[in-house]
Structure formats: structure tokens, C-alpha cells
Subunit: 246 residues, 2 copies
Amino acid sequence: MRLSRLLRLQALLYNKNEKRLAASIKHMVGSKPFNLALYKLAIKHASVADESINGLKLSNERLEFLGDAVLGAIVAEFLYLKFPYRDEGFLTETRSRIVNREALNQIAIKIGLAKLINEELKNKNVIGNKSINGDTLEALIGAIYLDRGYKFTKKFILKRIIIHFDVDNIITTTSNFKSKLIEWAQKESKDIEFKLLSVNGTQRFKEFEIEVIVENKIITTGKGATKKKAEQEASKNACENLNIPI
Amino acid sequence: MRLSRLLRLQALLYNKNEKRLAASIKHMVGSKPFNLALYKLAIKHASVADESINGLKLSNERLEFLGDAVLGAIVAEFLYLKFPYRDEGFLTETRSRIVNREALNQIAIKIGLAKLINEELKNKNVIGNKSINGDTLEALIGAIYLDRGYKFTKKFILKRIIIHFDVDNIITTTSNFKSKLIEWAQKESKDIEFKLLSVNGTQRFKEFEIEVIVENKIITTGKGATKKKAEQEASKNACENLNIPI
């Protein structure tokens, strides 16, 4: 705690921009930052990053990697505790609907992060990169984690991120990837086929493998403990592969 | 802490099997379990699970989901701090080499978890499911997390899991997915092609998309900020798709 107190003393030396950033962070996160440098890095998108001496771009991508992982763990625990009677397939899918790029982009706008990013990027001639808000939100989570630790980050995610989701609504509309895929194929007038590749295992413990074939081309495969689960998995992969929004 | 003390009192009522399990856990984890029920669940593989009233199988799969996420976050932080000058692509790949199923299977054997699983499964006519050890290790991590919290779990993973990896060796042998794929194609006498699908963005911030085509069939695509990264991503997906060991 001594180090953090020292870091707080730095606040006396903040310049005007730093003061503004610290105030924004406090607003978003609920508490003043200890180590402002982490948050400066968190809002530094790769497209405006400076190259450092050894060739590494000083951008928020490393923090995004960390934040993504921390967010994944905290949302996993949230869902584990919230849905004691649902299986892991449900938990996995519900999580992917919460932490998907589009949802995170929306949250970044809601908590005011998008505005901060716009200020950072203005006059920098950056093209409209759609995922920049969500990416930066993950980087911010990484910065909060390093600055304040796990407990604090968990509180931030539960009180200021997940609160924006109508989780019960999400689960009732949880994607049926196979039907999404079929819908898409009909719209695009493409032939689609789900082919059972293999069934392994014994009666107690089986594994099915399904192949998705579009216009006679194998797009993806998927495995699962039931034929339905394997189809869902293969279809989900196919949706990702074919850029079908889910 | 009062609850945990109460849970420890339960230890007085353990039957013979429970006493043995608690001792094994203490050996593996470094400290007595507070809530033994979590660890009992962690070693309950789906193939030996009992069906509960509402149709949910009481197996370790939910704990595995949670443990996988927690492990991912802790390894992410470990790598973030250990390699301050490496980019997120490197961090992502190194992590996937640490938390992959085969590596976790090996760790499960090393820490004695595999033996415990064998005892649990004996006389149960379970087929040789290769990933059962790694799956159970993840479930164990989930149980430790719920039982003892994040800090304790982090210590467990750093001191008793990651210690088994020669991380420096892993990074020098880190897969080149494209060359793995080409190697495979040569061995199988298959035509392989990497096709540049698109380049988006401005000079500062580009995104390449590469398609992997084997015997005139599109297998996967991959995106990246450079052509090389996109090729690696596409090749990695293709290796997964084609079940090529990486």
C-alpha cells in the first residue's frame, strides 16, 4: 500500500491532460487511478502507437490480451453462480454473447470510454475501426487489474459492465447457430449440408463430429457429446468463418 | 472466515474415503480443503456422473468451464509480466501452448491427479478418454478458486502448475503453424495454397485476410495486421480443423 500511496502523490505533478484523464478514469471506474501510466497505455490504440526502440509498438494490445482473459474469468464465475442448474455448454455460449465485440463496443459507449477514445484519436486520421471501442474496454480492464488487483476489477466488471446486460433476455434469445446458418444459406441461395463424419466412444460417453458443407465446400467441423451439440458447434464455427453475424 | 472454520469442522465427520480425498487434495494443493464437496465434484467425470432430478448431470464440466477461464487469466498475467517486450500475438500463442489439453494431461499426471482419477473411475468401465486428466485439472482449478479465492489459486497455478513448464523452451519451439501445415500437406501429398482474400484499412492500420485452400477446398481463413500474421492465423485454424497436431 505504500507504493500505491507514492503513486497517488504523483497526482500532484499531473499536467492538464493527465488531470483530465485521471478524472475521466475516476468517473468510469469509481476510484482514482494509482498508476496513471497504465490507463494512458490502455487508451493507446495500435493505429496511433509510437514505435519503441526495440521495434515493439507501445499500444494497448498487450493490455487487451490481459483484460480479455480477466474479463472471461470474471464473467465465467458470474454465470457459474447465477445459473447453478445449467450445463457448461450454456455457460460457454452465454459468456460468448456477453463478451463479444459488438456488445463490448456498446458498453464502451455507455460508460463514456468511446468519448475518451475519440478525443485521443482526433486529428489522427484513423479510419473507422469498428472494434476499437470494445478492444479499448478490454485494455482498460487489463489496466484496472494491474493497477488495483483482482477483487477491485471484479467489482468494476460486475457493477459497471455486466449491469448493462439484460442477462435474462440474452439467454432467452441465445443463438441457435444452426438456424442462423440455414437462414443465411436460404437468403444467399446456397446449398448447405450437415454431414455426420464420425461417432466415437461407448454408449455412456460419445463424441459426434459434424461437417458443415456449403456449395460442396467443407467450411468447418464441430464436435460434441450429442449430434445436436456437434451441429451447433460446427455451425458456430461456420458463422465465424463466413462472417455471419450471430 | 467463520464459514470456512465451520467447514473445517466438517472434517471431523469425514468418512474413510473423504479423509483420503482430503489428504490427497492437501498434498496436491498445499493446504487442506475448506469445502470438500467442491473437490468431490471436481473429480466427477461426466462418464461417471449421476443424473440429478432436474436432468442436469452432476459432473465436473461446469467446474471445468470456470477453471479453464481462471487458468487462462492467471497464465495471461504471468506471461504479460514475464515478457514485457513481446506482442500480444506471442502472448496468445505461448498461452495456448501452456494450457493445451496435452500439456494439462501431463501436469495432471505429475501432480498425482491422474492417480486420483483412476481410483475414482476404477470398475466403472470408462473408455480411455485421453483428455480426462487435463479436463479434471481444470475442474480442480475451478474448485480451488471457489473454495479459496483468486489469490490462493494464483499461487497454486504459479507454484504447482507453471513450474512444470520450461517456458523458455516452449517459446523457442513455438509453432510456426504455416510450416506445420505445409509439412503435413507434403506428407499427405495434398495441394495447398494460401490466397490473399482482402486488404482493408489505411497505411497505418491494415487488415489482411488469408484463405487456406487444400485440394481446391477452402479450409479456413485468418485475419491479421500483416500478411504473415494472417497466414499464421489461417494456418492455425486449418491445423485445428484438419486435426494436425501442433
